[in-house]
Amino acid sequence: MSTAVATAPESIHRRRHYLNADYGIRSWLFTTDHKRIALLYLFSITFFFALGGLFAVLIRLELLTPAGDLMTSDTYNKVFTMHGIMMVFFFLIPSVPATLGNFLIPMMIGARDLAFPKLNLASWYLFMAGGVFALYSVVTGGIDTGWTFYTPFSTTYSNTKVIPAALGILIAGFSSIFTGLNFIVTVHRMRAPGLTWFRLPLFVWANYAASLIMVLGTPVLAITIILVFLERAFHIGIFDPRLGGDPILFQHLFWFYSHPAVYIMILPSMGVMSELISAFSRKRVFGYSFVAFSSVAIAVFGFLVWGHHMFVSGQSVYAAMVFSILSYLVAIPSAVKVFNWTATLYKGSVSYQTPMLYAFGFLGLFTIGGLTGLFLAALGVDVHVTDTYFVVAHFHYIMVGGVIMGYLGGLHFWWPKITGRLYPEGWAKLSALVVFLGFNLTFFPQFVLGYLGMPRRYHAYPEEFQVLNVMSSAGASILGVGYLLPLFYLLWSMRYGPEAGPNPFDARGLEWQTASPPPTHNFEQVPIVQEEAYAYHAAQEVPVAG
């Protein structure tokens, strides 16, 4: 595929690569190497994920019993708010793009780095600064508005730390904008010779589409937060009905970003899916260009449907009808992807290694999440299940079942590339299985709970809901174990895992053609691409390591 052919296996220790190019904390904090920055993000978001997970534990503990006995209502409000803020803004949005995207996009397109390496580092610092503000809000008493900051509660009535949390999200938002900008420019301007748009890996397409949303949507969130800030600090009336303001206008501006933000989360994970499915079926992704364009279509359609979060808010019923119809549009490109992945499996030589197990998990869970999304897009049904656990289950199937499955699958797939070492396959398979089972046990009962009418965001509930809630909490503990396992064995493998060699899965793609871990400038020579992506040839396959 290119001129940069890997040489005979060499010990990780003897060869110079990005991890041992330089030592010491300064070499990490001032690095402009996209691979090191990806690792900085990896550790940071793992921290925020753990924190968000801790709040999830508290939520599930409280909901074990019908009575609100573990904490007061006010504390519970804070706990689910901080769970949402940590998970959405500090884990899910940067999850795949800032770690795997950062690491892989330059390598996949045969570039030495992202277009703006210093901006990339600055993005990480902004992210961390935002995280510090959010953490400050957590440790000084928390915030209870829900992650959506709905006005006028957030601007007038809440007596919690709204401003530092909002400021944290504002700053982290700029990090997201700059990451997206960096990706778009890199994909346009840094591709290796011969790497045309339709030879790009679909992971790059998906991240490109997500970057479009980051660049076009996040600024609106930024100004909305600033207006909330001004409203709360100076009572200028923009969202205050007493002065003629409209609280629903806040929801319009907020969801203009925050609905597409769901696609910032899921699109990169979908990109991971395309890579995994093709690598472990030894086939080109079926209908490559459809999958590529469906990413862009999701990014564009995603901006037209935000009003489906506001069906019961008091917006015009006519607007609600339009939003309801438009919401179905997003199902089309999403279904194109699911069908095409499935078609890729057909007659492929499928192997069931850990990343593929996660990919199967994604396929099933995303399908359930997506199809229940259609229920919610239907105006009449949505009014019935608004603010119930049905909604909670739906978006967790997308945001956890989809995004985190893709994230973990991708992390396992590229772990040998990132660290140069293999993870323990047995443990990894076990954890994939545990995550899948735990996830379903946690969230499937919530569909039923919601349909029976249990509202979200309450810490006490009627006794008839207890059985399902206990199931959900039990599932959450299993899920927790499933998330802890990779943390341990992946860390273990960084030191003790067997050396992986440049291409342990015998996958295609430029990132597999350089050493593992890659040298600081990724390639010894700029590769020249002469083939389309995923040039797998099932006939001449060799057994796969791992």
Binding site: N182, V185, H188, P219, I223, F234, I236, G237, G244, H252
Partner: protein, 245 residues
């Protein structure tokens, strides 16, 4: 590829993860334009708020708008468009390698920008004196109110609910939010231009490399464009209310 990489390497501004100087310039130009469209959507949020409330509270917005000083607003428009001209001339001087002219035009742009901000400060201080700043001490004279109730009736528009104090305050909230955010962008712009003027004086830029001047110019023109819309929306768009057809 390797050859061009080596050939470009002599320029001090060349960054080595690019192949060529040309590639570096194309990348940063695209990056700058992408940044500007994030700015479009950033201000776009406030324009949306303005659009919604102006449609709801036309009379109150008219009442608020008519208290703004049109002369100062128009003067500032001329100043800011003038600064865009000098900025364009600065870029032109950089392109043609006229270092002294480059410095002079950058300084002139800064001067015009500062003039704009000075006039804005005068307008703000008037608003403070008149208690037109949103907040607990917000006032809007009863004489003015009655006047605009009459105007509103004269227009016979179903869109007009009459002038309400809260709604007029909403106009001023938006006035301060929009012009304040615009002024903040100008302050940042002046800071950037100052650095550029200093660097230009030291001869950092040449016809081969003047990208920072060009990008600062794009930013400056963008800020100008925001004002081109703010001026009619805030100062002009309801001037005709007092004029009978």
């Amino acid at each position: 590829m390797q050859d061009s990489h080596a050939a470009a390497a002599h320029h001090p501004a060349f960054q080595h993860h690019f192949e060529t100087m040309e590639q570096q310039r194309e990348a940063s130009t695209l990056g700058m334009w992408l940044f500007l469209i994030t700015e479009i959507l950033f201000f776009g949020g406030m324009f949306t708020v303005y659009l919604v409330y102006r449609n709801w509270y036309f009379a109150s917005f008219a009442a608020g708008s008519l208290t703004l000083d049109l002369t100062l607003g128009a003067f500032n428009t001329v100043v800011l468009i003038g600064s865009s001209l000098t900025m364009a001339l600065a870029v032109h001087s950089a392109e043609t390698g006229q270092r002294n002219l480059l410095v002079a035009f950058l300084l002139l742009t800064i001067l015009l920008g500062a003039t704009f901000l000075g006039v804005k400060a005068v307008e703000y201080s008037h608003k403070f004196e008149e208690h037109h700043v949103p907040g607990p001490s917000f006032r809007f004279g009863s004489e003015e109110l009655r006047h605009f109730h009459e105007e509103a009736t004269a227009l016979r528009s179903t869109q007009i609910h009459g002038v309400e104090l809260g709604e007029v305050q909403l106009f001023f909230s938006l006035y301060f939010a929009m012009t304040g955010m615009h002024a903040l962008h100008m302050v940042i712009g002046i800071g950037v231009l100052s650095v550029l003027a200093w660097k230009s004086r030291r001869g950092v830029y040449s016809p081969e490399y003047f990208a920072p001047v060009e990008y600062a110019g794009l930013y400056w023109h963008f800020v100008d464009i925001v004002w081109i819309f703010l001026f009619p929306l805030l100062y002009l768009i309801t001037r005709h209310v007092g004029v009978h057809p």
